[in-house]
Amino acid sequence: MRSITLLTAGIATLASGAWAQTEIQFWHAMGGRLGEVVEEVAQKYNESQSEVVLVPTYKGGYEDTMTAGIAAFRAGQQPNIIQIFDAGAATIINAPGATIPVADLLDQYGDGFNANDYIEGVRNFYADSEGKMIGMPFNSSTPLLYYNKEILAEAGIDAPPSTWEEFEAMAPKIKEAGYQALAQSHSPWIFSENFHSRHNIQLATGNNGYDSTDVEILYNNDAMKTHWSKVKEWLDAGYYGFYGRGWGDNQDAFVQKKVAMWLGSSGSFGGLKASTDFEFGTAYLPYWKAIIDEPKSTFIGGAAVFAMAGKSDEENKATADFLNFLDSPEVQYFWHKETGYVPITNAAYELAKEDGYYESTPDAEIGILQLSQPGGEWTKGYRLGFYVQIREVMYKHYEGIFSGETSVDDAFAKIEEESNDLLARFHQTVN
């Protein structure tokens, strides 16, 4: 697929004369089906105009892509556009000079930039503390509950749980029917970061890390400890299945009908549709009624695209042109439909509604509806340095809780201590 695109690009270059065209590089982390869709988007773009040739390159997972970008930047070989994921946002945003903020790029080289074009949940996540967008949200997802309709019917349950209290009541029935009730991929993302957003709890000092790098993490709180004590109870009772850290291992448990419900990403929708042989539905991420009456919106996950610095005006202009194309309603709608990632602009969302997409596929709207739920003080996002390592710390101690090696209290005390060490180190690194 990629070689075909390259070939087409090459032929196009030859045909129209190499000097007339600007080539820009786009490094991304979208593998599998998602990668194919990126290639299709690139092809659409290259066919839509004749001045710019966009060359997308798959660089591996999110971490690999970021590492490749960092190494390339240090060697002066950086691509024009790079996709950086949520946990890496602090690393790239706290290195001013590595990127050109997209707001500036589009103002200078493109048609201007209006943050209000974006849906609310997406607007702030990759922005600086003044709300200026540094990275442009690209593949934005949010955690959702997927449920197997057949298993729930078999267990005599009408609707998926909207609260964890409801979940606790139905889990024994599902177990009786011979299934585990729940599994999840990515507990730091869903059961930590988004847990705070859903319940409107602050997760780090300094405005969740947006105001400064001199911050401390606040994960060691009662709500988290209560939640994780419950999760451990569910695991011991056989309601919760842990299939390892791997995203796919837990998703497979859902696909293979071992578990009735799975917490995953709205971006998993397209892949699940292709791999399941049963009817499934999507529902909002459950919350604890005991903690909050009206749940708040969740954070966006996924990744953003950043325009890297050190490029010629000509290339920057081409980059701005592509970013405009990428955020156009038609492309966003196409991306949303093919992958399940949420449309990030209001216009794209309207287009999807007008087209009747949600009438035929109501489950595809759940993600964006959840992101459009009322926000609170702590639902804008978070910005924490060395967050890749902090997630590693969380995984480590969550596994300790699951295996019974550590108590919930000790685990969170350790998470707090080790995360704060990392944050202090990051603060020194960038200052």
Binding site: T67, T91, D249, Q389, H397, E399
Partner: protein
Amino acid sequence: MKRVQFEHSAIPYLFIAPQIIIISIFFLWPSAQAIYQSFLLEDAFGLSSQFVWFKNYTDTIGSDAWLQAAGFTLIFSSLVTFLSLALALLLAVKANEVLHGASTYKTMLMWAYAIAPPVAGLMGNLMFNPLIGDLYNLMNQFGFEFDHKLDSVDAGFVVVLISVWKQVSINFIFFLAGLQGIPKSVQEAAVMDCNSSTRRFWTITFPLLAPTTFFLVVINITYAFFETFGIIDTTTQGAPGGSTTTLVYKVYQDGFRGADIGGSSAQSVVLMIMVLALTVVQFRFIERKVHY
């Protein structure tokens, strides 16, 4: 003793130049970079950096996570080295005695050697997959309550098993060659003197294999320290709870995934010193006991 003095000319230098260039590019230069970086606190993109003396060392070496990785590396390397050598020796001795169809046995035992560690890891991963893994199901059928996703001993078992399996065939080849290098006359003389084959093995064969064994010990320790990276990355990725994280894997996690270049460099410098020390010990103290 007669000393031979060659004329000095450029030609010998020319001959060793390729080797020197390779060592410089792939070892000396990166090592120098690592040492230099280990004293700097630098943001990932290299836009700002400050000299911090030993802060990177004090921050990372001695942290709980590092000590855990060091402990695991020690146990893991000892187990992998010992088990893959012992098994290979046993197999080589037995295969050497086989008369009928010897080459079939030997080929079967050898051919896993061409498998790269990540591939071995992926195969192991499939066999231990909780949903479809045959070995995973087998272990649980025997009532082990095997769960390498949560139990650190089980996870250690998985990575040791795969690492040993992958390494046995290479060791087997060397041991077999070593065994075939032992003169027939020595063996026949031993048979005349002693009836017990076990005793003959420990007093005649094993000492004569010492050069091979020593060479393999060095190779296997390096393998267990560094090359098993591919196996760990494709199976446990250091989980659960960091219990299967080796020192090399931690260097990768912090530096390549976490973009902490200073801390990762400091760890790799310490690792380099550890391996250098180990190699010195091997050559100074163990090699003396080896008779060529």
